[in-house]
């Protein structure tokens, strides 16, 4: 070890260091950033692939900014009618809006325009998808717990803004598909009781479609929302640095430290490299896979529609909810309230968002856990939370089926009505089934963990007893693995809340406490507690040597090969 420490030369003694010292000092005298940089360039981040999911979103956003700037050079946000004379022959001489014409020009007459447009669109689809996957990772591992609740809220706001930003961009080409999507959103806005029609006139500058909406969406798409996104991404990452990244439990990892690699050189290289991977992926997708062929749809005309009109995937759940909603409508004081649009189109996404925003606080209230958490929780060790998330994902996925019901019907030869009925029922039933199944799987995995701790791991060595029985030899788990498997908290003792205080008077907040206690019992219901130290000792002392119980195999044992022969023997 002592030799390796001498192998590198401090940077200030290298040729480059000596030359750079002057300019660097000049900069530091004027900016004074050396202190901040020294601290943060060596900032330690833990290592795990799932910590890079948010990076996919970040790098997609960078690609969106780069490609978006290119597109603004040519795109004309105007609904003025012009005659098309470009090189796409089927539309030669067709009347269309400038917005649509300029998008056709980008696609057919600007060098590299179609490629950049497709990269931009794929990046948008990936941006939202990556945010969602990142959010699921954070949720499944409990990374939103104290002190990261505010960052969780910022993250959800980013997701919401991402949806709006994506939708605004999708509408800009003013083609038949995006116009239909805009009409859909117009319907959502108008479904709001009382203020709906006023809101429509306010947003569209008159009746749909008017000639204001494209310039307005353009402003939102290239200025307002990107600025908000940029600011919130900055806040999101500053908070990440301030809180330090969460880490998986393991030997040497505690709530008070972060074990990993420093920003420079390891993470700078990894994250920087990942940017190029993401950019490369998007470039390949943009080059090989067609997305949003606006020429196939034609210019927007409110009297036309095309079969297979769908929003981009991230609005698919709203589309599905609206498609399968029963036709409920009522007239109150002479004005129609379209529950059939308002409930699935406005209330349902509102519920998803509200539950998401409240979840960290709700969980904290249910469990009564007010401590800080920097160690992640394995999904199996929080069966209720994991099952709850999977239930939510199931409801969301069922709505996706509803949104693509026509495509599924034609491609799989199914009845549209049967799919719709399935979604109507499945939206309520499938999450319940998913919840129960997921919870059982989590508990099963907890049992498997407990088994490995108490009985060791399966070596693959099969032993035959003199009377002909077969058993697999188990070997004790290495201490490090044992630690990792048992690093989580013990389940809290559940007690009924006191109904009366010391004087026999009904306790204040008695009813709330009861609800809380009932929820807490549900939250921990069925979860398996980790084995105690006594359990482990008992297993070691009394069970060793028996069939299927851990036997010390010595340090040279390194598992068995595929044919069952110990690798080293």
């Amino acid at each position: 070890m002592s030799t390796t420490e001498q192998e590198y030369t401090p940077i200030q003694d290298t040729g480059f260091g000596k030359k750079a010292a002057g300019p660097v000092e000049w900069l530091d005298d004027r900016l004074g950033l050396a202190g901040v940089a020294k601290k943060n360039l060596r900032k330690v981040f833990p290592e795990h692939w799932s910590f890079m999911l948010g990076e996919i979103a970040l790098w997609s956003f960078v690609v969106l900014l780069l490609t978006g700037v290119f597109l603004t050079f040519w795109y004309q946000p105007s609904m003025t009618e012009v005659e098309y004379q470009g090189s796409y022959l089927p539309f030669n001489g067709l009347e269309m809006s400038s917005a649509y014409k300029s998008t056709l020009d980008i696609s057919f007459d600007i060098r590299g325009g179609l490629l950049i447009r497709q990269i931009h669109h794929w990046a948008a689809a990936l941006f939202v998808a990556a945010m969602m996957v990142h959010m699921l990772r954070v949720m499944f591992t409990g990374a939103y717990r104290k002190p990261r609740e505010i960052n969780w809220l910022i993250g959800l706001t980013l997701l919401l803004l991402g949806l709006v930003e994506g939708f605004a961009g999708y509408s800009l080409p003013d083609d038949l598909l995006s116009g239909t999507g805009l009409r859909f959103v117009d319907g959502l806005i108008r479904s709001i009781p009382l203020v709906g029609s006023y809101a429509e006139f306010f947003i569209f500058g008159g009746e749909f479609p008017g000639d204001e909406i494209i310039p307005r969406l353009y402003m939102a798409h290239i200025l307002l929302i990107p600025a908000l996104l940029l600011g919130l991404i900055g806040a999101h990452m500053l908070l990440l640095v301030f809180h330090k990244h969460t880490q998986w439990p393991g030997p040497g990892r505690t709530e008070k430290n972060v074990v990993g690699y420093p920003m420079l050189p390891v993470y700078a290289a990894k994250a920087g490299g990942f940017f190029f991977v993401v950019f490369g992926f998007l470039a390949v997708m943009g080059a090989l896979l067609q997305i949003n062929p606006i020429w196939a749809y034609g210019p927007y005309n409110p009297s036309e529609v095309t079969a297979g009109s769908q929003p981009d995937w991230y609005m698919g759940f709203v589309e599905g909810a609206v498609r399968v909603m029963p036709n409920w409508e009522s007239t109150i004081f002479g004005s129609t309230v379209s529950w059939n649009v308002f409930i699935p189109g406005m209330i349902l996404p509102g519920i998803f968002l509200t539950v998401g925003m409240l979840w960290p606080f709700l969980e904290q209230w249910i469990t009564g856990d007010k401590r800080e958490h920097h160690l992640l929780e394995r999904p199996r060790n929080a069966p209720f939370r994991t099952a709850f998330i999977v239930a939510g994902m199931t409801a969301y996925a069922v709505l996706w089926i509803g949104g693509g019901n026509d495509i599924i019907a034609t491609k799989f030869g199914l009845s549209l009505n049967a799919i719709t009925r399935f979604v109507q029922v499945g939206f309520f039933v499938a999450p319940v089934i998913a919840f129960m199944v997921t919870k059982r799987i989590c508990i099963g995995l907890q049992r498997a963990d407990a088994n490995r701790i108490l009985h060791g791991y399966e070596t693959g060595v099969i032993e035959r007893t003199p009377d002909g029985g077969f058993s697999e030899r188990h070997a004790p788990l290495p201490a490090g693995s044992q630690y990792t498997l048992t690093a989580h908290d013990r389940l809290p003792a559940l007690e009924a809340p006191a109904e009366t205080d010391g004087n026999g008077v009904a306790a204040p907040h008695g009813r709330v406490a009861k609800v809380q206690s009932w929820l807490r019992a549900r939250y921990y219901d069925g979860a398996l507690d980790k084995p105690t130290v006594e359990d482990v000792h008992h297993a070691e002392e009394h069970l060793s040597g028996h069939d299927g119980h851990p036997v010390e195999l010595g340090d040279e044992f390194q598992g068995v090969s595929e044919t069952g022969i110990p690798r080293v023997h």
Binding site: P90, L94, V277, M285, T306, G308, Q310, D312, N417
Partner: protein
């Protein structure tokens, strides 16, 4: 009396659909023989249809459907049906072109109906650039709601569907417009002129025959396929890349 006059005037003035001029008596007789073997079990010996006990029909009447309808249904393989289904699917035709012509001649002989369109109106080379543009306008106004903007087809209630227009001949598309088979409405020559029909077909064919600008197109099915690609290729691929990067830490020993 008034009825008689109106009727008489109508017969005199009404546009007379061309009834298979080229059909000979022999064709009609040959067609009738084919009909009795292959079609009569559902459509009845006189092609008047067979009614079920409940008042529905086992096979509809073919009197007055015209040669165009026969040429479409039999020529695209929809008839004879292989089994009962919400809708008769397109399949390999059972009858040869000659037999189809004979069947059409027989049905056309029963009562006048739309004839097989004139070759002049299915010759797409005659459509100019302006014609194609016009055809596109008509296609988007009348057809895309069911058939999709590139004619890829679409779903309808109860297992029915608007079929894809890919690989369908110009003649058959024109016949479908005149006769309105299955779920499709009739677009008679008075509503959409034969020239306009030709322009619509010319637009569809041009759009379907042009290269997939921008790459692999996912069948013209729109954002559902895009979403699938985003998740499977985009997220799937980048997660694999992330796992690969994560597995190559600074201190991972490589033996």
């Amino acid at each position: 009396m008034a009825l008689l006059v109106v009727g008489g005037v109508y017969t005199a003035v009404a546009p007379k659909p061309a009834t298979a001029e080229t059909a000979t008596t022999n064709d009609v007789e040959a067609g009738r023989q084919l009909f009795l073997v292959g079609c009569a079990s559902c459509h009845g010996k006189n092609a008047a249809g067979i009614e079920t006990k409940r008042g529905g029909n086992y096979g509809p009447t073919l009197i007055g459907v015209g040669a165009a309808s026969v040429d479409f249904q039999v020529g695209t393989g929809r008839m004879p049906m292989a089994q009962t289904a919400p809708q008769a699917p397109r399949k390999t035709p059972v009858y040869t072109a000659e037999e189809t012509r004979q069947l059409a001649a027989y049905i056309a002989s029963l009562s006048p109906g739309p004839a097989v369109p004139d070759g002049e109106y299915t010759d797409l080379d005659k459509a100019s650039v302006e014609d194609v543009r016009e055809g596109g306008e008509l296609f988007r106004s009348n057809c895309t709601a069911c058939h999709n903007s590139v004619g890829a087809g679409g779903a309808m209630p109860g297992g029915k569907y608007a079929p894809t227009l890919k690989g369908v001949s110009a003649k058959h598309i024109a016949e479908a417009m005149i006769t309105g088979p299955q779920q499709m409405p009739v677009f008679s020559d008075d509503v959409i002129t034969p020239e306009d029909k030709r322009n619509i077909i010319a637009y569809v064919k041009q759009v379907q025959d042009q290269p997939n600008y921008g790459g692999l197109a996912g069948g013209g099915l729109g954002p559902v396929v895009d979403g699938l690609f985003t998740w499977v290729i985009g997220i799937g691929g980048l997660v694999i890349a992330a796992i690969w990067i994560g597995a190559h830490g600074a201190r991972v020993k490589k033996s």
